[in-house]
């Protein structure tokens, strides 16, 4: 079969998802701040130039604009870092995304250029410009920053809800997918909230403000958080637009997803409650320490939300197009016949550390290690986070055979096993070898040919029983109906 195989790197005890997730959360939080920060600067500039707030001008010329500058550069660099990390984690996924959306990414790039030029001009020349010109620059910066969110949001939300694109293959069906709008509005509000909270920290830290000035600025900034009242509706809209099986994960189907959702919802509720009731309705003051705590909560909400957004796509990285392990759904049937280990051009690293049979590396452990590398290592480790030997602790080899063969039914967020019975048996041997502390010797799995053939036949039977489709599908193609 035709397949482009890439070299796979070992992230050690760190799950690859954690590497990209951690960077993603930092990037999203920073980028949200850069977007919301631009809007806040526009608002404060308007307050200053219309005579509504003298202290707004002092604040504008203070540290906040530096922070916005730092964040939009860090946001841009971590954006490139996301790209590079995506290549490290799943080159096939990012390759497919680039093929489909390259012109929209190119559109986003034109807004990056505008953002950088307008942002620098406002930062460097703003204090020397007329009020109207400065407002125009800040508005251009904010517009460009928000538009970059607009475009990337469509691309990212497509990964979960490709919607009508699955039939039409139209770019606009892909971009304007079912979760595009709730996600866009939600992120816009999140950007405003992050910017307002950071501003509140700085209002308290900046020298030269009286208590009255600080109160005045805090209450002005707090108004930017008022759209948080819409967050529950947008959240429900997003959840309603999700595929039903993904919804199941967050509603208790996957405890990690449910927990992360609760962190996101709980942290948002705390921030929102404080903002809407305390800051806006009761006009309370907020000191630097409390504002910092709310920033941390907002970060936790971002972290939880991004974890859920990434996690609910399982077992896909691009829904119904590509499984997390870079196997396409339509490839599974062929892979069950031919496997991929034979055509993988990359040798197994550390092969010499495997037990030997007749002086050669143990052939089944070697195959099992390659199967693990190709199909499991994107989400699992051998001895770290989400380690396969740990997850299968207490299972005997026969349970592993059956469970791996029927993986998508055992855990519906797992993709179907995409290999031959021999490859599955090799993976079982590899996991067992790890579970037993990687001994120096390991029996030849195929030493008793009759028993080995029977074992492979059982695996084949279980694989056939499980079928090649995922457990929960949007639509079952006609040819697959009744096939299980």
């Amino acid at each position: 079969m035709e397949a482009v195989l890439y070299p796979v790197n070992d992230f050690g005890p760190v799950m690859k998802g954690l590497a990209i997730g951690g960077l993603g959360i930092f990037h999203v939080f920073t980028a949200h701040f850069a977007i919301g920060g631009g809007m806040l600067l526009c608002y404060f500039q308007w307050l200053a130039m219309t005579g509504r707030s003298k202290s707004a001008r002092v604040f504008l010329d203070g540290y906040f604009r530096y922070l916005v500058l730092i964040s939009f550069v860090t946001g841009a660099l971590t954006g490139v870092a996301m790209w590079f990390t995506s290549i490290q984690v799943s080159p096939v996924t990012i390759g497919l995304m680039v093929d489909e959306f390259h012109w929209l990414w190119a559109v986003e790039w034109t807004f990056f250029c505008l953002e950088v030029v307008a942002g620098y001009a406002a930062f460097k020349y703003g204090p020397q410009l007329t009020d109207r010109a400065r407002l125009a620059l800040l508005a251009l910066y904010s517009f460009a920053a928000w538009m970059s969110l607009f475009w990337i949001n469509g691309i990212l939300s497509f990964q979960l809800t490709p919607g009508a694109w699955l039939e039409s293959h139209s770019l606009w069906d892909a971009f304007l997918n079912p979760t595009f709008l709730p996600s866009l509005f939600y992120r816009t509000i999140a950007a405003l909230v992050v910017a307002a909270l950071v501003a509140m920290v700085l209002i308290n830290l900046a020298p030269g403000f009286s208590r009255n000035d600080r109160e005045h600025l805090v209450h002005r900034a707090a108004w930017l958080m008022s759209p948080m009242i819409l967050m529950p509706i947008l959240g429900i809209w997003f959840v309603a637009a999700m595929p039903p099986d993904s919804r199941e994960w967050i509603m208790g189907g996957s405890i990690a997803m449910t927990l992360m959702l609760n962190i996101a919802v709980g942290a948002s509720a705390l921030v929102g409650g404080y903002a809407l009731i305390g800051l806006i309705r009761q006009k309370l003051f907020i000191n630097g320490a409390t504002a910092t705590v709310l920033c941390v909560l907002a970060f936790a909400a971002t972290g939880g939300g991004e974890f859920v957004r990434e996690g609910v796509r399982k077992p896909y990285t691009m829904r119904e197009l590509l499984y997390s392990n870079a196997v396409r759904p339509e490839q599974v049937a062929a892979l069950r016949q031919h496997g991929l280990t034979e055509i993988d051009p990359y040798p197994l690293r550390g092969e010499d550390r495997l037990p030997k049979i007749d002086g050669q590396p143990h052939v089944h452990l070697r195959t099992g290690a390659i199967v693990f590398r190709q199909q499991c290592s994107v989400c699992h480790t051998t001895a770290g986070v989400n380690a396969l030997p740990g997850l299968t602790k207490g299972w005997d080899a026969e349970m592993e055979r059956q469970n791996f063969a029927k993986l998508q039914h055992l855990k519906p967020f797992m993709p179907p096993f995409a290999g031959t019975p021999t490859e599955l048996e090799s993976l079982v041997q590899f996991v067992e070898w790890w579970k037993q502390g990687r001994p120096d010797t390991w029996p030849d799995t195929a030493a008793a040919p009759q028993e080995y053939a029977e074992r492979l036949a059982r695996i084949r039977h279980w694989l056939d029983e499980a079928g090649t489709r995922p457990a929960l599908v949007r639509t079952v193609p006609t040819d697959a109906k009744g096939g299980r």
Partner: protein, 365 residues
């Protein structure tokens, strides 16, 4: 591929290659400014610490963070087209170099913020050695990034069999005999670019020493020719042949013509001792010809290294990507945002408070 670029290539391949090269040239202008500019800053600080600085050093210090941002931002577009054109090659090289490759990101962040520290008032109150040490950080960061890109590029054009062997070794550093001369051509080639942009900045501000700038450009051009000669000697016949292949020969000729024009133009500037806009146009046209021509030659070298079979195997992927929508949306937003960028410059130029006061009260009463 018996015709000059992009003729003779299938439409999708020729189109994406053109987009890649055009956006790469934009990136190269920023990159050259940053590469040579950070070196110049480091040299100035090593010589004088933080005691007073020339006009050019002041301009470089002021503009360098923006130019680095510009280089990074301008680099996004060619990176995008690169992934369509040479997906497997580029991704594989990234994966093989792994942590070594990913290191360019924190390194660039460090370099960027070092440039800000260099601009800060805080540094003027510190010892000269500290300023000099800090000034070396950006050039080290930028040089490391340039080295890594060259390494990545050279590894990406190796054969799949070589990739397999490289993967087995767990090495994260790739060395190729072409690496250093190739990198040196880039590095010293950045000097004439920097000097030209700097000359235009001086022209705008009404400052600058034409003789010094012309001398710097001349040294840069001579070093570029020297580095190119070393590259010629160090490289193989296939690479040398790529420059004079039908695909690249006219561009190679235009690059050489560009070098000549730059030399003539800078000679004119030096003799007249003035940074007149018309005089600067001559080296500007020369530089455009050289950078544009060499960018196409660089691509011809890559295509030659891949070989016709591997290169042609990429065509169906380009054709498939070409069928996706969005090109006209891109072109529309490209035009709109280019106009908005012009608007930003116009606002800064014409709407300063000083300008407005002068207009309202031209006699300053």
């Amino acid at each position: 591929m018996d015709a000059p670029f992009p003729f003779g290539l299938p439409l999708p391949t020729g189109f994406y290659l053109t987009m890649y090269l055009v956006t790469l040239v934009i990136h190269v202008v920023f990159m050259n400014y940053v590469l040579a500019g950070t070196a110049a800053l480091a040299a100035a600080y090593l010589r004088r610490g933080n005691r007073g600085a020339g006009e050019s050093t002041f301009i470089l210090k002021e503009w360098m963070p923006f130019m680095l941002s510009g280089a990074i931002t301008a680099g996004v577009a060619p990176l995008l087209f690169l992934q369509i054109l040479y997906k497997r090659e580029y991704y594989t090289a990234n994966l093989l170099l792994f942590n070594r490759w990913m290191a360019i990101l924190p390194v660039l962040i460090v370099g960027f913020y070092a440039l800000y520290l260099l601009k800060s008032r805080w540094l003027t109150r510190r010892a000269g050695w500290l300023a000099a040490a800090l000034a070396v950080v950006p050039i080290l960061c930028v040089a490391f990034t340039g080295y890594s890109w060259t390494e990545n590029h050279l590894l990406s054009v190796r054969s799949p069999a070589f990739w397999g062997e490289f993967y087995a070794t767990r090495a994260q550093v790739y060395y190729d005999p072409q690496l250093l001369p190739r990198l040196l051509v880039w590095a010293v080639g950045s000097v004439p670019s920097l000097v030209l942009v700097l000359a235009w900045q001086h022209w705008y501000r009404g400052t600058g020493h034409p003789g010094s700038l012309a001398r710097a450009a001349g040294i840069g051009l001579a070093l570029t020719c020297g580095a190119a000669a070393w590259y010629y000697v160090a490289t193989d016949d296939a690479t040398r042949g790529a420059f004079v292949s039908p695909l690249a020969a006219p561009y190679f000729a235009s690059a050489c013509l560009g070098l000549l024009l730059q030399a003539v133009g800078w000679g004119w500037v030096a003799r007249s001792q003035s940074l007149d806009g018309r005089k600067l146009l001559v080296p500007s046209v020369g530089l455009a010809l050289t950078v544009g021509g060499m960018t196409v030659c660089r691509e011809a070298v890559r295509i030659a290294a891949l070989g016709p079979e591997r290169f042609e195997a990429l065509f169906p992927g380009h054709a498939e990507a070409f069928g996706k929508g969005g090109l006209f949306v891109f072109l529309s937003f490209f035009a709109v945002n280019a106009a908005l960028i012009v608007l930003v410059f116009w606002l800064v130029r014409h709407h300063s408070v000083a300008n407005t006061v002068q207009k309202r009260d031209p006699h300053g009463t």
